[in-house]
Symmetry: C3
C-alpha cells in the first residue's frame, strides 16, 4: 500500500496544492537526467525509482527484443556508454555526458574521423532556436547523429572531426510498468502515460509524474467506486505491446480513460477528444476545463499525436481523452532541450493534477438523484433557506433550487451541472446537504453505466 508518510516525494496533504506541486516538481527533478528511450536502462531506472519512492506495488515488466505484437516487433535494446565529437582543435564539441539530447536516439555505435562536410548529414540543429538542442530519434532505421545548438554548429571550423559513439544496440528487452488499484467495481478508469523521452520535462516527464501522483492519491482514499489502471509504457510501441496483452480485458472494463501528457507548464489548458468525441471521458474533460480554464484550447482528434493513436484506434476504441497544458507540437520548446524544469513549474503540475482529480471525482461521485417531494420543497422550514441566503452564499441558494428543479431521477448530477452551468464540484456538496435533509434520494448510477456504450 502506498503511504505518503514514507515518501520524500509524495505530499503529506493531498489538498495542499502548493506542497503537491513542489513535491511533484522534486520527483521530476530526480528523474530528469536519466536517458530514457524506447528501451534501455534510462526507462528501466525511471520505473524502478517511481516504484521505490511513490508506488511500491508498481509492477515492472520486461519484453524481450524480437517479440511481435500486432503489426510491430520489439527492437534491440539500446544503451549508451559514451558519445562525443572532438573537433579539429582536439576539444569536445558535443558530449552526451553534458546532455543526453546531444545523441540521436538509437544511434548505432561508430568510431571514425570525418571532415566537416562529411559530418554535416549527421548533425541536427534548429536555426530558429539557435540555443536549443533538438530531440531526434531513429528507432527503426540504422543511423547515428549528434544534436547541438545551431549557434554552436554554425561556428564549427573546417577540419577533421573524431566521432566516438559507444552504444550497445543488441537483443535485450523493452521495459514498462502497470498498476491496478482495485475499487468497488471491476469497471476501470485508465490512466496512460509514457516514459521513453530523455531529458525533457513537459513532454515528457509531467505525464508519468501526474499519473503516479493520481494513483497515490487514489490509493489514499478510504473507498473508490471504480478500479484504476496506470500504464507507463514507451510511446507507440509500448502502447501496442500493452494493448496486445490486455485488449479483451480493457475493452470489457474501461469506462473512461485519460492520456497523460504535457501537464507541466502554466501557459494554458488544452483538450484533445477521443476518436468518437463524445465519450463520458470527453464530456467530463470538457466540463472540467470549461470551469477551471474557460479559455482552454480545443483540438481535434485530427491533431492527435500521443498514445491515443493506439488507444483509440479502430478495433481498440477505448474511450480515452487528453487534458493537458501546452500541447505537444504547439509550443516553441517542444522536443528540444528548452523543454526543461523551468518551463515546467510546481504550479503548472499542481493545476494539471487538480484538473484530473476533478475529472476523477466526477466519475466517483456522479449519481442520479430524485427530489422526494412534489413541487418545490419549503426550504425555509428546514433552515436551508435563511441559512443560505446570506450575502456570501446567495448563489448557493440558487444552485440548490436549480439542483432540486432538475433532480428528476433521469439526469445525473453531472448532467445537471452541465444544464445549470455550474461546476460539478460546486453542486456535489449541495446534493449531500439535500440528501441529509431527505429532500433528495439517490438513484445509483453505477450499475447502469455500460462500458464503451
Amino acid at each position: 500500500m502506498t503511504s505518503s508518510d514514507k515518501s520524500d516525494y509524495l505530499p503529506t496533504d493531498w489538498n495542499n496544492q502548493t506542497e503537491l506541486g513542489e513535491r511533484l516538481h522534486r520527483l521530476l527533478t530526480l528523474l530528469f537526467p536519466l536517458n530514457r528511450s524506447l528501451t534501455g536502462d534510462g526507462a528501466r531506472q525511471t520505473l524502478h525509482l517511481l516504484r521505490e519512492h511513490c508506488l511500491p506495488d508498481l509492477r515492472i515488466h520486461e519484453i524481450p527484443s524480437g517479440t511481435k505484437f500486432f503489426d510491430w516487433t520489439v527492437p534491440d535494446e539500446w544503451n549508451v556508454q559514451q558519445a562525443y565529437l572532438i573537433g579539429p582543435d582536439g576539444q569536445k564539441v558535443v558530449d552526451f555526458d553534458d546532455h543526453n539530447l546531444h545523441l540521436v536516439g538509437y544511434s548505432e555505435p561508430i568510431r571514425c574521423t570525418l571532415s566537416l562536410a562529411e559530418l554535416q548529414p549527421h548533425l541536427h540543429s534548429l536555426p530558429e532556436l539557435p540555443d536549443a538542442i533538438p530531440y531526434i530519434t531513429s528507432y527503426y532505421q540504422r543511423y547515428w547523429g549528434f544534436c547541438l545548438p545551431h549557434k554552436v554548429r554554425a561556428a564549427l571550423p573546417e577540419g577533421d572531426y573524431q566521432v566516438v559513439i559507444d552504444t550497445r544496440l543488441q537483443p535485450g528487452s523493452m521495459t514498462y510498468a502497470e498498476w491496478v488499484l482495485p475499487g468497488e467495481s471491476e469497471q476501470e478508469i485508465l490512466l496512460s502515460s509514457y516514459i521513453c523521452h530523455p531529458s525533457m520535462a513537459n513532454n515528457e516527464l509531467s505525464g508519468p509524474g501526474v499519473g503516479v501522483f493520481l494513483m497515490a492519491w487514489l490509493a489514499s482514499l478510504p473507498r473508490r467506486r471504480y478500479s484504476y489502471r496506470l500504464m507507463l509504457v514507451p510511446e507507440t510501441l509500448g502502447a501496442i505491446v500493452y494493448l496486445a496483452q490486455h485488449l479483451d480485458h480493457l475493452k470489457r472494463h474501461t469506462l473512461a480513460g485519460f492520456n497523460l501528457t504535457c501537464m507541466g507548464d502554466e501557459r494554458c489548458y488544452s483538450f484533445l477528444p477521443s476518436r468518437q468525441g463524445n465519450s463520458l471521458a470527453d464530456r467530463i474533460g470538457r466540463h472540467v476545463l470549461s470551469h477551471i480554464a474557460p479559455d482552454y484550447q480545443v483540438y481535434s482528434y485530427l491533431e492527435r499525436g500521443s498514445n491515443e493513436r493506439q488507444l483509440c484506434a479502430p478495433g481498440i476504441d477505448l474511450p480515452i481523452t487528453t487534458l493537458m497544458r501546452s500541447k505537444y507540437g504547439c509550443y516553441a520548446e517542444y522536443h528540444t532541450s528548452l523543454d526543461d524544469l523551468t518551463l515546467v513549474t510546481p504550479a503548472g503540475l499542481a493545476g494539471s493534477f487538480l484538473a484530473l482529480r476533478r475529472a476523477i471525482e466526477i466519475l466517483e461521485l456522479d449519481d442520479r438523484y430524485q427530489v422526494t417531494v412534489l413541487g418545490e420543497p419549503q426550504l425555509g422550514k428546514r433552515g436551508l433557506y435563511p441559512n443560505l441566503s446570506t450575502r456570501s452564499s446567495g448563489g448557493q441558494t440558487q444552485d440548490m433550487m436549480n439542483l432540486l428543479a432538475y433532480s428528476d431521477g433521469r439526469l445525473t448530477l453531472f448532467e445537471i451541472a452541465e444544464v445549470i452551468k455550474v461546476p460539478f464540484w460546486q453542486i456535489a456538496p449541495l446534493a449531500d446537504i439535500l440528501l441529509g435533509a431527505d429532500l433528495l434520494r439517490r438513484v445509483n448510477v453505477i450499475s447502469e453505466n455500460s462500458v464503451n456504450s
Copy 2:
C-alpha cells in the same frame, strides 16, 4: 355561459384590438386597489369580481388554514383593518389607506412607540428608486414592517414614532378559483395565473386579466377542439394546493399550457421555456413571438420565477411555457408602486392577448394535410393562380405553392409554417382554400397527439 353582451368589461368584438385593450385595462382598474395577498379578502374579492363581471361559471374555492399539501401547509389568513406610522410631529408618515404596498405583506399586529433607530429595521425603501414604494412580504416568518419611498425615509426626523398595525393573522382560508371550459376533446390547454399581488399592474394583474379574457373569448367560439382550464391561485402555495388536488388529471390531460404573467407593458415580448424546453407549447410560443416580435427576449428556465417552478417541477412536468412582456425581475418598476396602470397600457394588454390567442389558434387549427395530386397541381385551371398573382397577393401564391410542396401527410400545418418561415395564421386560410379546391385532404392530427409525449 359567458356573454360579453352583459358585461361592461368584456369586449363586444373580439377582433377589435382597441376595444379589447381598453376593456381589459378598465377591468384591471376595477381590481387594482384591492389588497391581494396569499390569503384574505383582497384575493377573495378579486375572484368574486371576475366571476361577476366576466366569467359567471368561475368556481371559487376556500382551503382552510392548516391543511397540508405536498411539502407545504396553508398558513393563517391575513387581513388588514388599518396600519399607519405616526411621526414625532404627530403626523402620519405612511398610511396603508394611501397605498396597500406601504404595509409589509403578512405584517403581524402591533402597537408600540419606537425611536427612529429602533424603527429602522422595520422600514424598507429603495435608494435607487427614491419615489417608489417597494413590495415586501414575510409570509412564513412573523414580522411587521412598513415600505416607503426612500426620499421620505431619508427625511424622517429623530424622535418617537407610533406604530399602529391592526391586522388579523388567524385561522381562515386560502382562496382560489378555476374554470374548465369543455371542448370536443378531453385533452386540455392549461392557462395559469395568480392573484396574490396587491396594487401592482404588470406583475400582477395583467396575467389574470388576460387569462379571464382568453377564457371569455374561447367561450364565445362556436366550437373548440380542446378543453381549456383556467387556474387563478396565489403564487407558489396556490399552485402547490391546486396541483396536489388535480395532479393525476392534469398529467393525463394537459397537452400544453401557458403561465400568464407580466402581460401589460409595451416595451418588449419575452419567452421563458418549460423545463424540458421543447414541448408543443414551447415550439408554438416561439413561433408566435418570432413572427409578432422578431426581437423578443429569450430567457432560460434557469431564470424562472413564477408558477412554472411548480408546474414544471420533477414529477409534475406539465408542458407549460411563458409568453410575456417585460419579465418579472427584469424591469425597473418590478415589485414597486411604479408598476402601475400607466406602465400597463391597453395596447400592451391587447398585444399580449393576441399573442396567446395566436398560440391557442395554432393548437385549435393545426392539422396534417396531404396533397391529393402527384406532382404540382395546375393551379391556373382552377382559377387559383391568376386570382392570386395580383400585385397585392404575390406572396400568397408562393405560400400556396410552398404549402402544397410540404403537405406530405407527415408534417403538420404548424410544422410547415416553421419550415417555410411564415406565420401559421398566414397559411391556415390558404389550407382552407386548397381544401375547398380538393387539392388538399385533411389527415386529422388530434387523435395522434399524446399528452406529455
Copy 3:
C-alpha cells in the same frame, strides 16, 4: 454504344478539361438557334441532334396532345412559320427570324392592324435592361405577343402596326427523350434536364449539354457500379409526364439524382438541396462544392424553381439535388436574350461537368474499409512512410494516417473524407494504396444502400 471517336462534339480525352469545355460549347452552339418550346419541332430537332452527335442510343418519345398525366394535360403542339411586326413606315420592327425570343411562346396565329396603343398590351420589354429581349410564354392561356428591347419599344412612333403571326397551335405531340445506361446494380442515378427553352444558353442549354456529356463519359467507363438514367423533357409538364410513366420504377430504384440546370457561366457555384435536404445526393453535392468552390452559394428548397418541384413533390420524393452555376432567377441576364453563348463559356461548362463527375465518382467509388491490423500499422517497414514523407507529399502521409485511423468498417470513405475534412478524390487513391498493402480490406457498401431510406 457511344463512341467519342466518331463525334465532332464529344471530347477525345475525358480528362482534358480544355478540350471538354470547347467541345461542349460547340455542341451548344449547334443547338442554340433552334426554337425549343414546350412542344414542337425545336425541341424535337434538339433531341434528334443530340442522338445523332452524342448519344446514339437515346430514345425519343412523342406523347399525343390531350393525353392526361396526374393533374395535367398535354396541350396542342406549337410551331412557328413566321412572325413579325411592321411599323407605320412599312419596315419590320421585330422579326422572329432575327431572334426566336421576339415571339411570346405559344402565341396564337393572328394577322391584324393595330394602333400603337392597341398594340402595347401585346408588347413586352425590360426598362431595366433596355438592350435585352425578354423571354415570355403563355402555354395555357390563349394569347399572342412580341418581346423586344425596351429601347426599341420606347422609340416606336404612333401609327398603324401590322401584326403577322403565322403559327400552328393544333393537336400534335410533346417530345422527350431518355436513356438508361446499365451498371452492375439495378439501382439508378438520375440525371434530369429540360429542353423547352428557345435561344438561351445558361438557362437552358447548359443543363442538357452537361447531362449528355456525363452520359457519354459514363458510357466510356469499363465498368459502372450503378445504372444511370438521363431524362430530357420539357420543364414541368415533361417531368409530370415522365414521372407518371415511371413513378414506381423510379421510387424503387433511384439512389440519388441531380437536376441539371444553369451550368454554364463562370461566376460562382450554387447548391439547392432536395426537399428532405439530407439525402445522399445532398451530402455529396455539398461535399463536392465545399472543396471545389468553398464560397459556393447555398439556397433553400424554398427557392426552388426547376424540375425538382416535380421530382421532390410529396408522394414522389426522389432524392434529387441541384449543383449549378449562377442560379435561375438570380443573375441579370436570366430569361433574356443576354443569356447567350458569351455568358456561357467553355471553362464554365467544363467546371460544371467536373463537379458532377466528382459527385458521380463518389457514388461509384465509395466503400467501407476496415483496417486489417490493431493499433497503427508500421508504415515504415512497408516503404509507405519514407516514400511519402518527402516535402511534396507531407500532407499525404497525414491523410493516410487519418484514413487508417477512421477505417473502422462503419464509416464509408465518403464519411471519412467529411470527418477528416479533405476531398473524397484526395483519399480515394490512398485507399487503393493501403488496399494494395493489405492494410485495409473492403467492406462493400453497395448492397447495404437502400433506396430512399
